[in-house]
Amino acid sequence: MTAIALPPFWTLVERHGDELLAHARRLAGDQLAEDVVQEALLRALRAYPRLRHADHLRAWLYRITTTTAMDAHRARRREVLVDETPAPPSEPEHYDGAFDTLIAPLSDGARDALRLRFVEDLDYAAIATRLDCSPAAARQRVSTAVRTLRERHHA
């Protein structure tokens, strides 16, 4: 049991489910959106009792959905890389298109940071080398870019 009064989890699901699905569609495309939301909500439920306060729960769900979409994207890309036969063209293309559309409004620097992290799947040390900055700064650029995206989609 928690000391703070968190709302029943399903109240959040019923209140924000539709907008999280729309967010996942923008991030991951129509085909993966439902899987992304389902996984994101399961991750949220795992973490839910450990939350220390009940503020900004909607933003928290958006953040988890964003991360889950990025993970799905990387997993998909890894599948394509290890696959000997060429991957069916439609899905990855559709998917990459969604990602590029998503990050299009960001600055060049922010787009580069996100591509290195989520498309090239580099760790922060490698991103730092490519961007000629410290690993901490690389991490900062990626997280700022993700936050900017999230705030745009809240608006």
Binding site: F9, T11, V13, G17, L21, V37, Q38, L42, R46, Y48
Partner: protein, 196 residues
């Protein structure tokens, strides 16, 4: 915006239950006596709400007592749904579902509700005073009234079968008309020919 599909929601709830991530599961059951909200904890049904009860407040009450991981699922509550439907539609004369009175904090109130659940069967009514006596507290008719009024699992723990000694059906969380309808349905009270 598109709401999440039932398929997605059921799959999410099923995974959550399988992983042991759930403090309570709820479902909404359509019955001849209105739509009921039924909440099930690890030990059985902890809460039943009537159609007019505010759902958010009821689920918040459950979350405060059992934990915030409250999810909805028809599949995970299928046994309770079937039993309630069968009883309230008249297909089954017995209503046997596991009950957990964990939401009842006061030991006296819990004792009263346990006695009521165990002893007062379909077709019977008991007065507040008689139920007080059966619970071992013959002078506590008024406190028995409070216990019934705060019964978290109406219909399953049959507080509708507890009536005033002075006559009439008395008060009920779902309204006196519903109480009368339940008693008529169970054959404890003759249907009235005219309102009055």
């Amino acid at each position: 915006m598109t709401p999440l599909s039932d398929r997605l929601l059921e799959a999410l709830a099923a995974s959550a239950v399988r992983e042991g991530l759930v403090d309570a599961v709820f479902t909404r059951v359509a019955t001849p006596f209105g739509r009921l909200l039924v909440v099930q904890g690890a030990g059985g049904v902890v809460r039943v709400g009537f159609e007019d009860d505010p759902e958010d407040a009821l689920l918040a009450e459950v979350a405060a007592a059992l934990g915030p991981r409250v999810v909805a699922s028809d599949a995970e509550t299928a046994a309770v749904r079937d039993a309630l439907s069968a009883y309230l539609e008249g297909d089954d004369e017995r209503l046997e579902v596991p009950v957990d009175l964990g939401l009842v904090r006061a030991p006296f109130r819990r004792e009263v509700l346990e006695t009521l659940h165990r002893d007062v069967v379909r077709g019977q009514v008991v007065t507040y005073g008689a139920l007080a006596a059966r619970s071992g507290h013959p002078k506590a008719a008024r406190a028995v009234g409070t216990a019934c009024a705060r019964n978290p699992v109406p219909i399953i723990v049959p507080c509708h079968r507890v009536v005033p000694g002075s006559g009439g059906v008395g008060s009920y969380g779902g309204g006196p008309a519903l109480k009368r309808a339940l008693l008529e349905f169970e054959g404890a009270m003759a249907p009235r020919l005219a309102p009055g």
